[in-house]
Structures are given as structure tokens and as C-alpha cells.
Symmetry: C2
Subunit: 316 residues, 2 copies
């Protein structure tokens, strides 16, 4: 049986699909501009549950994950399509309109036009598919495949917050008396903010060699960059920025780092560049470097190296 | 509670979505060309069942329905994205690869590039979303809204076959001794052929005023044209082309016409034009005409007019 990544690579090879395998496909638009396009599906019972995710948050997140893919190419999002599959009961309960409320308010903030969509009935549960298209200067989209030994590895913001929020929503985390931190973590899970402006600013530096958004988890998404680029990586544990609000959850210290390394859905950007871009784009932090050890990804902790096994989210 | 169409119009108005409401959204590509884009979701238990639809047929149909939407704009399909949501059991049974086999062989025939996609796990059942983008000469996409009183109403081919095939697959039709007819009807349901070349040829005449593909059923899709164009219509029962293979099913005569009028999924094109285009595009047949009686759609049968109530497929 294939794993998810193996199937994608198998399909790509079998059918000769040149554009499959990055955050977005890059297609020619006109003489100055490329079009980047991406699609994502979220399913009830896997990506969200109705007992903790409000309809408008599902609309927000559905669009946010695709906007984040466009951001990871360094492109500017322009338009979106959305296909919504809902069972009878959710239709009757008014799910679609609240879903579009959340979707539309995020779209508006980024000047993205909802150009079309589809509404279908389903049997099993809600399934939503978003499509976002963006534009980037011709030949300038940032792929996963450009990382080179010696490049620095950076992220755009703190990690683990979305996974912490999910623990709270699942009722699997006790928290201290800081209700504001509690709410912020929940919001990072329910309504994550795509780093569109940072993606554009990073692309504009001309120094970024590879980029991906952290949707599955740092360890898994870094492995995607290393696989595409044919390189290895070392991450320094002490430099991984941990969402400060996680300190308010009753977690063991190792567990907190685990959420930052493997917890997905923060939709921060993970990228590589020849030099430190912290002075050019605010919020950026160096967390490690690319090596020539193809396929070897390690975590440097307390002066020792250990394998950083991809342990983020995979569907299969 | 909203009907499907009412919700779409409500969302369109509420959020000012200018491009929603036709088969495809029309967006500017470059100075000579418009990009048309569409998305469709198919769900297990609603649009297909695994006990009668092979995985490759689901892949074919998923792409075919979106290609048909592009055809209905008179555009040439260029690239596609596909999001596939499958439960664990279907993944383990190898559904994804056979799904892509069917999808890819149809894509190849039309020179459509599969540019990307997504694979997700679902709980309830399989859900697949296709996205197809096409190109058309700037300002020349054929909308639903251009039908004018006096225009002739035409279709590109025989109707009711896909619905007849569905009856066979459901085990609700007995058939005579013509197994070939039986198989053709099943194929019309499982692997319908999008009328891409006919859509292009019709658009090229410059005479087509409105076009839609028959996915929900002639009565329902004609109502979409009439609503968008602010007109009425009269269909002549004797001129509606009925799939000849339906004669091999054990159906009452009225039932056969019912399948042709209301059965969906034939993905033939339904269009209006100032003059008969049968001599210009082979296979085209006139079935009625557009009237000034806004919203009044009638069937002329045996010298009398009766209301042609939209009775095709709607999800809600």
C-alpha cells in the first residue's frame, strides 16, 4: 500500500505530470506573469469536527490553507473557487451561509475574488475544496526544489500553536488561568492567518532558494523541501520558535517542542536562503541549515545530533 | 430553507460575486484571451455508488463534468486540478490509482494537463472535486444570459441515455435482447463524453446567444438559461431527440420522454441562436424557441401547451 507522498510521486511519474509536487502548480499567464494554482480538501471527522469548529471558521480555514500555498510560492493571491459538499442536516441547519461568511471575510481582506464554486449533497459528512490562484513575476515563483547545501533554514513565526489549540478543542489539554492565551491557541487552530505579505516580501528579496508552508508539521514539510532539493538539513532545537502561549498549557517540556516540530496547521512559511533575512523581513528566524547529506535530516540538541523523523500529519 | 439555486443567488448577491452563476467564471488572462474556470464535486452515495461505478469511471466522470462546463462556454480546456477525498478502506483497495487512470486518459484525449491536486482522508465516503480551466477569445465566452425572444433552442445530441443507464445500474430497468444498447446506455452514465469540439465549433459561428451543458436535465438547465436571460421558452415534444437505445428498455412511452426532458448527466450542450445551426455543426437539432414570456417555460405536445416544470436533478 502506498503512503500519501509515495502515491503522489507515483502518479506524477506514471502520467508525466510536470507541475505536480509543489505547493502550487506554476502555469504561464502572459508575458510578464505566471499563474500559480492550488487546491485543498478538508473533510469532517478528519480535518475538523462540527462540535468544535463553527461553520464560519471552516470557511475561513478552507480558504486560508490554499492562500498559504500561494504565499509559499511568493505569489499574490487573486481569485478562488470553492466546492462545498454537505449532508442534508447541515444544509437544513444553515451551514452553507455561515461557511461562506467566514470564507468571504478572509477573501475580502486579501482582495481575493470568489469567482465560482459548486454546492453538492453528500452522505457521509461535510467536504470542502478550495482552489486559489495567484500571480507572480514570470519565472520567479519560489519552488521547494532550490535549497542548496549551506543555505540557512528559516521560519516566519512561532510554531505549535495550532496543534496546541487542537488539544484544547479535543478536551485533551488542561490550562492555567490565562484565558487569553487559551483563546489565542484556539484561534490559531480555527482561523490561522496565511502569511501572504511575508511570502511576497521574501520572494522580493531574491534570496529565497526554497519555500513551503508548514501545514503538515515542520519535520514533515522540511522533509518535502529536502526530498525536492536533494539535500539534507540540521535543525537546532533551541532556535525553533515555540508559540509562547503553549507555556499556559499543562504540557511536559519535551511535549512542547514536539508540538513545534511535528504539529501541523500553523501555516507559517518554512524557507531556505543564502543569508539571514531577519533584518529584511520582520519576524523571520533562522532555525538551522541545509547540508549535502541527501535525505538526512537531523535535530541538534544539547550538543548532539539525532534523526528528525518526519512525524507530522499525513492522511495515509 | 433555501433551495440550491436560491442559495447560490443569495450568496452571489450578499457578497457581490460578479462571476458566479454561469457554467464557468470568466477571468482576464492576457490581452487576447480570457480564462474560464469551473469546479464540480461528486460524492459517493449521491452521484455514484461503488457497487456500480468502477474507480476509473469515477475519475473519467469527475473530469468530464468540468470539461463539459468549459465546453458550454465555447472555450478550449487547458489544465485541470483534482482533489480526492477517500476513506481508509478505498485507499487500501487501490481506488486512487484507478481513479487517476480514468481521469488521465480522458485528460490526454483533450490535451488537458493535470497540473496539481490534493489527496485527503475522509470518514464518510469518497468525495472528488475537479477544477478545469480553459481559454477563449477575449469577450467571446458564451454565457447563459444572452438568449433573446425569437432565438431557436438547440441541443447537440440525443437525451435521456445517461438516465436510462442509471436505471440499469440501479437494477430498476429490464431490457430486451439488445445487449449492445444496454452497454451503450451504461457507458453514457459512467463515461459521458464532453462535447468540447462542438462547443468550440458553436462558439466559432458567432451565432450562439446562450449556452449551458445538460447536467441536471433539459427542463432544469433550460430554466437556468431563461432565468439568466430574462426570457421564456417553448419546447416541442416531438422534436426532442431521444436516445434511440432507450427503446430497448422496458419503459412506458411517456417515461422515455420524461427521461429525455428531466434526466440529467447527458452533458450534451443546450444553446440558443438566431438561426438554425444544424447545417454548420453536425448533430445539432432545433427543439424549440425562446419567447418574451419571462419565466414561462412550456412544452408543446399534440397541439397543446403545458408547463414544462423543471424536474431535473437538484441537490437541495
Amino acid at each position: 500500500m502506498f503512503s500519501e507522498q509515495d502515491l503522489i510521486h507515483h502518479i506524477k511519474d506514471k502520467f508525466g505530470l510536470a507541475h505536480v509536487g509543489d505547493d502550487c502548480a506554476v502555469l504561464a499567464k502572459d508575458e510578464e506573469t505566471d499563474l500559480v494554482v492550488t487546491t485543498d480538501m478538508l473533510a469532517e471527522g478528519v480535518d475538523f469536527d462540527l462540535d468544535w469548529a463553527p461553520a464560519d471558521a471552516i470557511g475561513h480555514k478552507c480558504l486560508a490553507v490554499s492562500l498559504s500555498d500561494v504565499a509559499a510560492m511568493g505569489a499574490e493571491p487573486k481569485w478562488a473557487l470553492v466546492a462545498l459538499g454537505v449532508p442534508e442536516a447541515s444544509w437544513a441547519a444553515g451551514f452553507p451561509e455561515r461557511f461562506y461568511d467566514g470564507l468571504n471575510s478572509l477573501a475580502k481582506r486579501f482582495g481575493v475574488e470568489i469567482a465560482g464554486g459548486d454546492i453538492s449533497r453528500t452522505r457521509g459528512g461535510i467536504a470542502v475544496t478550495s482552489v486559489v490562484a495567484g500571480e507572480v513575476e514570470k519565472g520567479k515563483a519560489v519552488m521547494r526544489s532550490g535549497a542548496r547545501p549551506g543555505d540557512l533554514i528559516m521560519v516566519t513565526g512561532p510554531l505549535g500553536g495550532a496543534a496546541g489549540g487542537l488539544r484544547i478543542l479535543w478536551g485533551r489539554a488542561t490550562h492555567s488561568n490565562d484565558d487569553a492565551a487559551f483563546q489565542r491557541l484556539i484561534e490559531r487552530q480555527l482561523r490561522p492567518e496565511p502569511k501572504v505579505e511575508m511570502g511576497r516580501a521574501l520572494q522580493a528579496t531574491g534570496d529565497v532558494t526554497a519555500m513551503i508552508d508548514i501545514s503538515d508539521g515542520l519535520s514533515t514539510d522540511l522533509a518535502h523541501i529536502c526530498r525536492s532539493s536533494g539535500v539534507g538539513a540540521i535543525i537546532e532545537a533551541v532556535r525553533v520558535p515555540i508559540d509562547p502561549d503553549l507555556a499556559q498549557l499543562d504540557l511536559a517540556p519535551g511535549e512542547v517542542l514536539g508540538l513545534a516540530l511535528h504539529g501541523g496547521e500553523d501555516i507559517e512559511l518554512l524557507f531556505t536562503a543564502r543569508r539571514d533575512l531577519a533584518s529584511k523581513v520582520q519576524g523571520v528566524k533562522v532555525i538551522g541549515r541545509i547540508t549535502a547529506n541527501t535525505g538526512i535530516i537531523e535535530l541538534s540538541r544539547d550538543g548532539a545530533l539525532e534523526p528528525l523523523v518526519p512525524a507530522g500529519f499525513t492522511h495515509f
